[in-house]
Every structure is written in structure tokens, then in C-alpha cells.
């Protein structure tokens, strides 16, 4: 009998709500003895999320975001800046205790396992996907997913982006590419290092099809059954509390 984990399926929310939900699930996991949880979700309006340690000025073209109606949020996790395109991106998150037998204790090994589940899901769509340390998943040689993990409240929280049909031109309008990263290369070359499912497969692909593939990847890799569920009352309360933090300028502009 496979262990059952909770699936919170494809909630569409704004940036502060999404980040609050991820942290609320992490915070409540041991307190309420909740099941381990996998979430798939989309961001409306589209948003840029930056890593905990990133400089907002350096990473984000704030004016472009304003012009395009794109939200900006700082994550609780480290890592890089991500453009969450409402029309072309799925984010996942996973919460499980740090000492859970299915989650490797070593950080690199745990990224490898969780990103491996995503990669396995993408393989089901015919994509040559693989985890690429430090925290990426590549399709062939191009980045198709970025991932970020934190460990607190006694749990591992990992979330990440899967580019389905993201507008890569807009992505590079709202994100600033560090000079040092594009040294000796044209921006075009940088853009060519990123792809999405539609571009890679060269066919239309729906969120539904992507979702099914990702869930299959999680279930097979972790040997679990996913059962659709909702947030608990306590988790919803935490979301309301955390929302204030995530939507405050003090939080978003702290670095």
C-alpha cells in the first residue's frame, strides 16, 4: 500500500497568497500532524518572484513590471528570480518532514530526488529532462525549471517553476540579467538557454496535460498516492496572517 499524500490542486491566486499558502502548509505540517503535501498552482496576476537573498533592484525591472501589471514578490527561499506567467507557467510545492524516510537528509540529494520527480514527469511527455545542480531542471541542454528549497518548522519546503508556454520575451523584459552572467554573450544567447514545454515539444500543450504528467512523476518517484484535499482551517488562518508579511514593502524591498 502506497503512502497517501495530500494534493492541493491548481489554486489560482495572487503572489502574496501563493507564498503564504506554501509557508502556512510548512508551518502547520508538524503542529497539526497534517499529511505531506504537494501543490500545483498558477499566479494571477503574473508575477516575478525573487530569492530571499536577491536585490530587487538588481534582478527586477520594476518599471516594466508596473507597465505590464506584473506583481513582484520575495520568497522565503533562496535561489534566483522567476517569471510566473499566468498563461504559461505552473508552480509546484512540496512539504514533508526533514526526517521523512522519502526525503534525503542531504540537501543536494533531496534536490536530486524532488527535481527527479519533476524530470520523470516531464519524461512522460517525451522530454529529455534531468536535474542539473545546483537547482535547475534541463530539457536537453536548456533550462525548463528552477527550484528552491528551505528547511524550517521541521520540514522541507521545496517549490519550483515549470515553464509550459511562458512568454520568454516578456520574461526578459521583467527580469534583469546580470552583466556578469551575459559577459561576452549576447542577450539572445542567454534567452536560448531557456525553453518551455511548448517550444521544446513543438506542439500545443495544455496545463491539464502538464499537470497529469507532473502528478504521475511525483507518485511514481515517491511511491505515493496523491489524494485531492483542501487547506485546514488552521492553515487558512496562517495564510491570512502571512499575507500581510508577503504583501508588505518591508518584506519585498528588504534587499
Amino acid at each position: 500500500m502506497n503512502e497517501t499524500w495530500r494534493l492541493i490542486d491548481m489554486r489560482i491566486e495572487d503572489a502574496p497568497t501563493q507564498m503564504s499558502i506554501d509557508e502556512a502548509i510548512a508551518k502547520a505540517r508538524l503542529k497539526e500532524n497534517n499529511p505531506n503535501t504537494i501543490r500545483l498552482y498558477r499566479w494571477n496576476p503574473s508575477a516575478v518572484s525573487i530569492g530571499y537573498f536577491q536585490s530587487i533592484e538588481k534582478e527586477v525591472n520594476i518599471q516594466s513590471c508596473k507597465d505590464l501589471g506584473v506583481d513582484i514578490i520575495r520568497r522565503i527561499t533562496g535561489g534566483g528570480a522567476v517569471y510566473h506567467d499566468y498563461n504559461g507557467e505552473i508552480t509546484y510545492s512540496l512539504v514533508a518532514p526533514v526526517n521523512h524516510p522519502k526525503i534525503p537528509a542531504d540537501i543536494l540529494d533531496s534536490y536530486s530526488k524532488i527535481c527527479g520527480a519533476i524530470a520523470n514527469g516531464l519524461k512522460g511527455l517525451g522530454i529529455d529532462a534531468a536535474f542539473k545542480p545546483v537547482n535547475d531542471i534541463v530539457a536537453g541542454k536548456q533550462k525548463i525549471s528552477g527550484n528552491a528549497q528551505t528547511r524550517r518548522y521541521g520540514v522541507v519546503l521545496q517549490h519550483g517553476t515549470i515553464l509550459v508556454d511562458s512568454d520568454i520575451e516578456t520574461m526578459f523584459k521583467v527580469l534583469r540579467v546580470s552583466d556578469i552572467k551575459i559577459s561576452d554573450k549576447m542577450l539572445k544567447a542567454v534567452q536560448d538557454r531557456v525553453t518551455n514545454l511548448r517550444r521544446y515539444l513543438d506542439r500545443d500543450i495544455t496545463f491539464e496535460e502538464t499537470k497529469e504528467a507532473l502528478l504521475d512523476g511525483f507518485e511514481k518517484t515517491f511511491e505515493i498516492s496523491l489524494e485531492p484535499g483542501e487547506l485546514t482551517t488552521y492553515e487558512e488562518e496562517l495564510v491570512n496572517e502571512l499575507f500581510e508579511k508577503y504583501s508588505s514593502e518591508d518584506w519585498v524591498f528588504q534587499r
Binding site: 530569492g51 530571499y52 537573498f53 536577491q54 536585490s55 538588481k58 522565503i76 527561499t77 533562496g78 535561489g79 534566483g80 528570480a81 540537501i107 543536494l108 545542480p133 545546483v134 537547482n135 528552491a148 528549497q149 528551505t150 528547511r151 524550517r152 546580470s178 552583466d179 556578469i180 552572467k181 534587499r255
Partner: protein, 90 residues
């Protein structure tokens, strides 16, 4: 303001901004796309470096990571030293 940016071998980026007055670090802000758990310990590291003589900063970084339960991923203590050294040399 002294600034530097350093691409860590393996892909992550670290940047620093320093204000130096009379050979003393008065202000330090570290940023980048690395991982450090718990994340808030970056504030403690910045605090630790404030008021330190510029020639002494490597020792303070070494001391900071001893006796603390901090996990670094995609970065090492020597990368913090490297980027601060680069900023001081700028």
C-alpha cells in the same frame, strides 16, 4: 560605496555593497541567488561584519560559520570572503 559581484564556480552569484570609513566596515549588504538555511542568518552575518577593520573581515567570516547551525548550498564561506575582498579592492 564599494561594490563587487562574483560568479561562484558552479553557477550561483553573490554580490556585496560596502561602506568603509577609516578602514572600518560601516555598512554591508550581501545579495545573490545562493541558498543559506536559516535564511535570516544573513542578517546576523552582516551584523557580525559591521564595525570590523577591513583587514580583519576574513577572520570574522570564519568565526561566524563555526558553532552555528547554518547550512550553505551553492556557496561556501570562502565565496563570501572572495566577493568582499573584490569589493575592497575596487
Amino acid at each position: 560605496m564599494k561594490k563587487a559581484e562574483y560568479k561562484i564556480p558552479g553557477g550561483k552569484l553573490i554580490a556585496v555593497e560596502l561602506k568603509i570609513s577609516k578602514n572600518i566596515i560601516e555598512y554591508v549588504k550581501i545579495s545573490g541567488d545562493f541558498f543559506m538555511h536559516p535564511e535570516e542568518s544573513i542578517l546576523d552575518l552582516e551584523k557580525q561584519l559591521k564595525g570590523v577593520k577591513t583587514e580583519d573581515f576574513p577572520r570574522y567570516i570564519d568565526e561566524f560559520f563555526v558553532d552555528r547551525d547554518i547550512i550553505l548550498y551553492g556557496i561556501n564561506p570562502k565565496d563570501f570572503k572572495q566577493v568582499i575582498k573584490m569589493a575592497l579592492d575596487n
